[in-house]
């Protein structure tokens, strides 16, 4: 009577992390087999068997994000285009597309970031062919009217609006805009507000955007869960075989080296505690460059919950609500952020100086082997414990495919973490945190609010 998931105890059993936790660092962090097949048109199919009886996660990675928005006035377009991908084709108009997904009970959505646009579905393994039929059709034959395009622009503005009271949206916008002069990381994935508001007028450009980026050589299909490999590849050839490869070459402008410290004051209308945000230019995500791995660990050594700075500012002196360091994992050189929220405006300078002091300390004092081992263990267990269902596995793999194009980079990157020494951490602390490489933003409540 019903086409329904047949497995009653739908709890997924993650693999034992014996390999992931190999302290010699010789093993692979990722405990599952990664199959890779490339079709004649360049489309790569990455598949990972996972013990999730009756369930499959189906991801399509488009290696295009806001990084690709090189033309003036087009910021936010990759994200906008992600929305248009739900507007249907001749064969499966929007309503029919939604009805089919509804009938199979799929969890289906998408997201866009700096370097990628990711379409994701989790559903019954029995529905694999249906999903592939729907996905291949919209990637090859998307069709929407100019009116539908303009209507969707309203939803984009709505998405911007839903975060607009959150100061961190504005902080990210201001920092990127100031820290970058040439590279497209200058704008957030949402885009500049003026470009978002102009989106309804960009229908023609949207057609060009689809032609450029929604091509097999720029996409990777990731399937995780309960499937038959031979059948999967047979279906992939059937449904994606006719997809024509593209030829567009992207030239993202390189970011010149920052020459002087940049300071930004951001007054905020709503009631708020002061927020201090710092950003430093750092290298791109890499599974070969030790600096990237060392910077990632530095963010935990210097700003993590077990760091001296955290203990001082959050736990002992209680000058801030939180402090955190965040190393971007980007395809091109990104930013190393530090964020903190200061409890009393009179302590802003003390807090800022303590953060600068922590960077200085990292550049002159080696972290102990014991502490570094604890942090490496934390990073590995955190990753391994997160891989507890097919959706999470697909999402992690999709992220690294976006950045390097190769799912195996996940293993190489975690192997790099194992190799990082206290000297490496000291070296990157010396190399990347000079004041001339820094953007400092201070968000404070507007004066009139303070007087109230």
């Amino acid at each position: 009577m019903f086409r329904c998931l047949t497995v009653l105890l739908l709890v997924f059993i993650p693999m034992v992390f014996a390999v992931a936790l190999d302290e010699s660092g010789q093993g692979k962090i990722f405990p599952y087999t990664i199959n890779q097949v490339t079709l004649d048109n360049g489309l790569k199919i990455v598949s990972i068997p996972f013990e999730s009886p009756g369930i499959v996660a189906y991801y399509t990675v488009v290696r295009t994000g806001s990084r690709n928005e090189v033309e003036p006035g087009k910021s936010g377009f990759a994200h906008f285009f992600e929305h248009m991908m739900f507007r249907g084709t001749e064969k499966f108009p929007e309503q029919k597309f939604n009805d089919i997904l509804k009938s199979i009970g799929a969890d289906n959505n998408a997201y866009t970031s700096d370097d990628q646009t990711i379409y994701h579905t989790v559903a019954s393994a029995e529905a694999l062919e249906t999903i592939m039929q729907l996905e291949s059709d919209r990637f090859m034959n998307l069709k929407y009217s100019e009116d539908a395009f303009k209507t969707e622009a309203g939803a984009i503005l709505g998405e911007y609006n839903k975060n607009s009271s959150n100061p961190f949206q504005s902080i990210e916008e201001k920092i990127r805009d100031a820290a970058y002069t040439e590279h497209t990381y200058k704008h957030t994935t949402m885009g500049f507000l003026k470009d978002i508001e102009n989106m309804p007028n960009q229908y023609q450009y949207s057609l060009e955007f689809f032609k450029r980026w929604y091509r097999p050589e720029n996409c990777v299909v990731v399937v995780v869960g309960d499937f038959n490999q031979d059948k999967l590849i047979e279906l992939a050839k059937k449904y994606y075989g006719a997809w024509e490869a593209g030829s567009y070459k992207l030239a993202v402008p390189a970011e010149p080296q920052q020459q002087a410290e940049i300071k930004i004051d951001l007054p905020w209308k709503s009631k708020t505690l002061p927020i201090l945000a710092l950003a430093y230019h750092v290298p791109a995500c890499s599974d070969k460059d030790i600096d990237f791995a060392a910077l990632n660990l530095l963010s935990l050594v210097t700003f993590g919950e077990t760091s001296d700075l955290y203990r001082k500012l959050v736990v002992n002196d209680q000058l801030v609500e939180f402090v955190e360091g965040d190393m971007s994992e980007n395809r091109d050189p990104g930013l190393f952020y530090v964020f903190t929220r200061v409890k009393d405006p009179k302590n802003i300078n003390v807090v800022r100086d303590a953060i600068y002091g922590a960077f200085g300390n990292a550049a002159t004092t080696k972290v102990s082997e014991e502490k570094l081992a604890s942090i490496k263990s934390h990073v590995k267990y955190q990753f391994a414990m997160s891989l507890d269902n097919p959706d999470r596995v697909a999402d992690e793999i999709a992220h690294y495919i976006s950045i390097t194009g190769d799912p195996e980079s996940i293993n190489r990157l975690y192997a790099m973490y194992d190799k990082v020494t206290p000297d490496d951490i000291m070296n990157v602390a010396k190399k990347y945190f000079a004041p001339t490489n820094r953007t400092v933003l201070l968000l404070t409540q507007e004066e009139k609010e303070v007087k109230q």
């Binding site: 019903f2 009970g105 009116d147 209507t151 709505g158 590995k380 507890d388």
Partner: protein, 505 residues
């Protein structure tokens, strides 16, 4: 006037269900377990059967602050920092989720580290340090959350909490889970210690355990947790929820560029009741959270581009900005409510969008689902619900919630009930529990704009939508009806407030 209101309330007494929680073993402790020996992970969900409804008057926030201080404090032997140092290399954390009825301590650990983790987890719960410096740190966080986050930087949550306070006016559910500004300000460390002593008893503890835990863990826990005082479980009695009379509107003013809307009304059923399941299906058809399948999403966002998303709920739903799409577990309520959530709208289209949502709700009540809508939605819920308990921790949470309500495992019961439903059952339940006339509405608007906004709603001023693009004639024809769709605003019960005055006491 007050007397009349009370009489009205008494004539519409909602059934006040009692949770069927505490059948205990000989130790006085209750366990819920799911053994999966092949799993390398062990999930703990340790519930203390007390929530914000247990907060003493004038100390609203005490339950939440106590729980947070336990999860983010030290043990008798270890300071908070020393606990963090021990947990860190295992990437383990001890989280706490405070809600109106219950408080849940949540932990997950790889079996390699189970012994060390359990020792810390149990010592935190059985012998919390209650260090004055930790108390101050956690108290500051709680106060700042209400003053600087909820009131200022998260309009969607502000709208939801305002609606909660409206629906549960003069009711223990009516404050936020984290209390009030004055309540938190008044709490001392001695209050926390006393609350712990009287509330963290065997009678209130309910231990959930799932995954690849060893056979002897349950026995160990029984022994260890028996050191707590026996205590006595006393369920907080709930008064009837006030009936809604017309449309009662609270307009909240704060600086904002877009307007958040939440609306709803109490319903007298929950997961225990047979009628809940057809209502659950109807709600999925009308506004399934974070999907493109619901009526609201299709009409407001899909056809009109009004905002980012539009959903509805047949029970309390915790989630939103940055949250996963599936329902959070361990947020059960004995008294439930139906609600609609419209994500922030352009100011000029907000009045229209409220009308649009209520217009669709009226259509749902008047016309119900077609047989085709019913069949496709049933198929959807049957399949989609199987994705909600994908991890051992979530499955454990669902199991404990089901026991709270005194019903079978929720996802199994949903399956069983849906298979025997008919479209007529669903439409009858819609007519019985839903309506588009008596609704409480919370709207978050920009500073200084509240009075005009409320006046326009009261006066039923026409509110034509402003489009950026052409839409079909069918939609334009429907818009003509929606822009003047009458809203029966109860002027006496409607008001404009400043966000900075909310959740004060």
């Amino acid at each position: 006037m007050k007397t009349i209101t009370l009489l009205l309330a008494l004539t519409i007494v909602l059934m006040v269900p009692t949770s069927e929680l505490f059948a205990k073993d000989e130790t006085g402790l209750r366990f819920t377990t799911i053994s999966l020996p092949s799993s390398p992970l062990i999930a703990f969900r340790i519930i203390v059967r007390a929530g914000s409804i247990n907060d003493p008057k004038g100390k609203e926030g005490l339950n939440s602050l106590t729980a947070d201080l336990i999860a983010n404090g030290g043990t008798k032997d270890l300071t908070y920092s020393q606990v963090v140092d021990k947990l860190y290399p295992w990437a383990a954390s001890i989280d706490v989720q405070t809600d109106q009825e219950i408080t849940t301590f949540i932990g997950s650990i790889h079996r390699d580290h189970l012994d060390g983790f359990y020792k810390l987890f149990s010592e935190l719960l059985l012998g919390p340090r209650f260090d004055p410096a930790d108390f101050q740190r956690v108290k500051d966080l709680h106060l700042n959350y209400l003053q600087n986050t909820l009131r200022a930087t998260n309009d969607e949550e502000l709208g939801k909490q305002t609606l909660n306070a409206m629906i549960f006016v003069n009711h223990p559910y009516g404050t936020t889970e984290d209390g009030t500004v004055q309540g938190i300000s008044a709490i001392t460390l001695d209050d926390v210690k006393n609350y712990y002593k009287t509330t963290y008893t065997q009678a209130n503890f309910w231990i959930g355990l799932a995954g690849g835990y060893p056979d002897n863990l349950q026995e160990t826990m029984k022994k260890d947790f028996s050191s707590l005082p026996a205590g006595e479980f006393k369920e907080v009695p709930l008064p009837p929820v006030s009936p809604v009379k017309g449309m009662e509107v609270t307009v909240v003013e704060k600086p904002t560029r877009a307007y958040a809307v939440s609306m709803g009304f109490p319903i007298s059923i929950n997961r225990k009741d047979k009628d809940f399941y057809p209502l659950f299906l109807a709600n999925s058809y009308f506004g399934e959270h974070r999907t493109f399948t619901g009526v609201l999403m299709n009409h407001l966002r899909g056809e009109r581009g009004l905002n980012y998303g539009d959903y509805s709920y047949a029970e309390k739903f915790v989630g939103g900005l940055g949250q996963p799409p599936f329902p959070r577990v361990n947020t059960p309520l004995r008294q439930q409510f139906f609600s609609i959530w419209l994500r922030p709208l352009q100011p000029e289209n907000t009045h229209f969008a409220i009308r649009n949502a209520l217009f669709e709700l009226k259509n749902l009540v008047d016309k119900g689902l077609s047989t085709e809508d019913f069949e496709i939605t049933r198929k959807f819920v049957l399949n989609y619900s199987k994705l909600w308990a994908a991890t051992i921790s979530r499955r454990l949470g669902y199991k404990m919630d089901s026991e709270f309500y005194g019903t079978d495992y929720f996802i199994d019961r949903l399956d069983k009930e849906l298979r025997t439903l008919t479209v007529d059952d669903v439409n009858a339940v819609i007519r019985k529990y839903l309506n588009a006339s008596n609704v409480k509405i919370a709207v978050v608007v920009d500073e200084g704009k509240g009075k005009d906004f409320l006046d326009a709603m009261i006066a039923n001023t026409a509110s034509p939508i402003k489009y950026a693009s052409a839409v079909t004639q069918n939609i334009l024809d429907e818009d003509k009806l929606i822009e003047v769709f009458p809203l029966n605003i109860n002027k006496e019960q409607s008001r404009v407030v400043s966000a900075k005055d909310l959740f004060e006491k």
